[in-house]
């Protein structure tokens, strides 16, 4: 059922944009027929198909990392933002784009290559990830880890503020545009890399799927059921680091998918079983991000909203609604 919905939203998403391409034309193109217009061919295959795939991958990556973090930290508000991964990626990009002027050196002349931004974001995410791993190795308490993650995030945010104070308008704009998030800036080569990263990032989830169910009862009970908490923690950090890190690197920070989607999955399927919740969150994450992207295209106009703004506009009220609807902690 959800798979069908995913396919449906996938095609609807492709038909939406500044040039509206009818839904049935896309389906008939898929069945081997020709588009009546040549330009549609280019729009679909060069632009919209990669974008839709990116949305699917980013949706899966973010919501699966969110679910892992919520269960591991037993905190309904945990998400990829919380471990400071997005902030780390932001810091990487900020350093690349803005630090140049602060030190009087220009790292780039002319336009910034998109690859360079991706690499900077990935390096930033990996840096935070390494710091987090170091912390995880030193402190045994998960709550401490969560707080340290939040602090890393604030720290990275502060450094970005300082950098932006000293940088000039052009560089600030490059950073701001990146921080608004975009699904449309991944092209063929990157898409394959993103896909590979997602596959690798999902592996620990498969390995630990049973342990996540045990974690529902808390660390002590999980231990009594033979779960190795240290190993699970490493698995969680590596998996969310790769998934959320690569999603942020390729698309910029995308808010609220990681935190809201797992709650939607729990609400829809009314279960705490991670063998259901992981695939459900993945599919739901892909669907929600496709829908958000569709909204951001502002159907019928040539304008496009930043995706991060749309997910926040959709996600924030949803989280508030969830909190008001019932005791948040009982969602687990």
């Amino acid at each position: 059922m959800m798979l069908l919905m995913l396919i449906l939203t996938f095609f609807i998403n492709m038909s939406i944009g500044s040039v509206s391409i009818p839904f049935n034309e896309i389906v008939s193109r898929l069945l081997g027929n020709e588009f009546p217009r040549k330009s549609w061919e280019i729009i679909i295959f060069e632009y919209r198909l990669p974008k839709a795939f990116t949305a699917v991958l980013a949706g899966i990556a973010l919501s699966v990392s969110g679910l892992q973090m919520q269960t591991f930290f037993r905190n309904p508000l945990a998400g990829p933002y919380v471990l400071g991964i997005s902030s780390g990626a932001g810091l990487g990009v900020a350093l690349l784009v803005m630090a140049g002027s602060a030190f009087g050196i220009s790292f780039f002349s002319g336009g910034v290559g998109i690859w360079v931004v991706v690499i900077a974001a990935a390096l930033g995410a990996i840096l935070v990830l390494l710091l987090m791993s170091f912390t995880a190795w030193r402190v045994k308490d998960s709550m401490t880890l969560l707080i340290v993650g939040l602090m890393f995030g604030s720290l990275a945010g502060a450094i970005v503020s300082v950098l932006s104070y000293f940088s000039d308008a052009n560089q600030l704009k490059v950073y701001t545009v990146w921080s608004m998030g975009s699904l449309g800036s991944t092209f063929a080569g990157q898409l394959e890399l993103f896909f590979a990263a997602c596959l690798v990032g999902l592996l620990p989830v498969l390995v630990f799927i049973k342990s996540y169910n045990a974690m529902l009862l808390g660390e002590s009970y999980a231990k009594s059921m033979g779960v190795n908490i240290q190993r699970l923690r490493w698995g969680m950090i590596i998996s969310t680091g790769i998934l959320a890190g690569s999603a942020t690197a390729f698309c910029g920070p995308i808010a609220f998918i990681g935190i809201a989607v797992p709650h939607m999955a729990r609400l829809i399927f009314k279960t705490g079983d991670h063998r259901v919740l992981f695939p459900a969150s993945a599919l739901l994450g892909a669907i929600v991000l496709l829908v958000c992207d569709g909204i951001s295209q502002l159907p019928g106009s040539a304008q496009t909203l930043p995706i991060n703004a749309v997910t926040s506009l959709v996600g924030a009220p949803m989280v508030i609604w969830l909190i008001l609807k019932r005791n948040f902690s009982k969602e687990f």
């Binding site: 799927i209 049973k210 231990k223 009594s224 059921m225 033979g226 705490g272 902690s329 687990f332």
Partner: protein, 331 residues
Amino acid sequence: MENRKVVLRSKNLKLGYRKNGAKIVVAEDLDLELYAGKLTCLLGPNGVGKSTLVKTIMGQLPKLSGDILLHEKSIEKISNVELSKKVAVVLTDKVSLGNVTVYQMIALGRIPHTSWHGSMSKLDHQKVENAIQITKINYLRNSVLSELSDGQLQKVMIARALAQDGELLILDEPTAHLDMINRFEVMHLLRRIAKEEHKAILVVTHDLDIAIDTADEFWIMQCGQPMVCGTPEDLIISGRINLLLPDEKLQFDLFSGKVQDASPFKYPAIFGNETLARWLKSIIRKNAQSFSELDIEISIENAPFLLTVKDGDKLEHFYSFQQFIADFTIR
């Protein structure tokens, strides 16, 4: 005898933890044994190290020295997964799960036995059913956990531990926060599990009277003193149960099996029905400060209730304890 089978044994065990490099010893020289089919209650004041002992036995806290043997094999040499198939626990941790049904919860107990993806075999379902039957919670099986009362939830947690199918069950204060009837039910359920399912059960509890009624063995911990182990009844008649009551003002009353004020007290002469006399003593004792008239004779009879006080030649009749005590404490 078959039920003398030792499941867990400790030798010269020293408990404690390390803080800033220094060892803090909680208890030492512990030679403990847990038998299959026996319910053991661990009693002692807060902070004496009961949880430390339990965590050490569970293998979650490293011991300082000595050895803990599970079936004659040191638990440090047993892997986490192997240990979880042998030892199941019910902890004091609050479990707040909204979307999980009782059946799913109990099925979580099968986690150590299932393969990596966690799907349940026929045997797994059978073990869950069995745990539901033993704990008699079939009527709850499809309820969601957030709908359960504390007593029901505790039975579900016991069922989950049962489904884990270990030979040793450890329960940390399973009767805390429960009302009287649920305490009674939970402890008797545990006794039944020990006997019928042949499990070794260790219960940390503060409920002395229900523990006396249900336990086969007591372990009593007291600050700065060696641990006392033995059959509850033996500990009672030898007076060693008073180790639980280091305060001079309290003592364990051999006859009533209750903890009482230890200061000597002289009752007036009481005649008549023994049961009623017991409660008459109780109310006099309770009002001891203001009860001054001790040179009286009281006779008490039942159906209809009649309490007669003979003070010299004067006779007074009372028709309830309330009347009696009101009259005698005002004077």
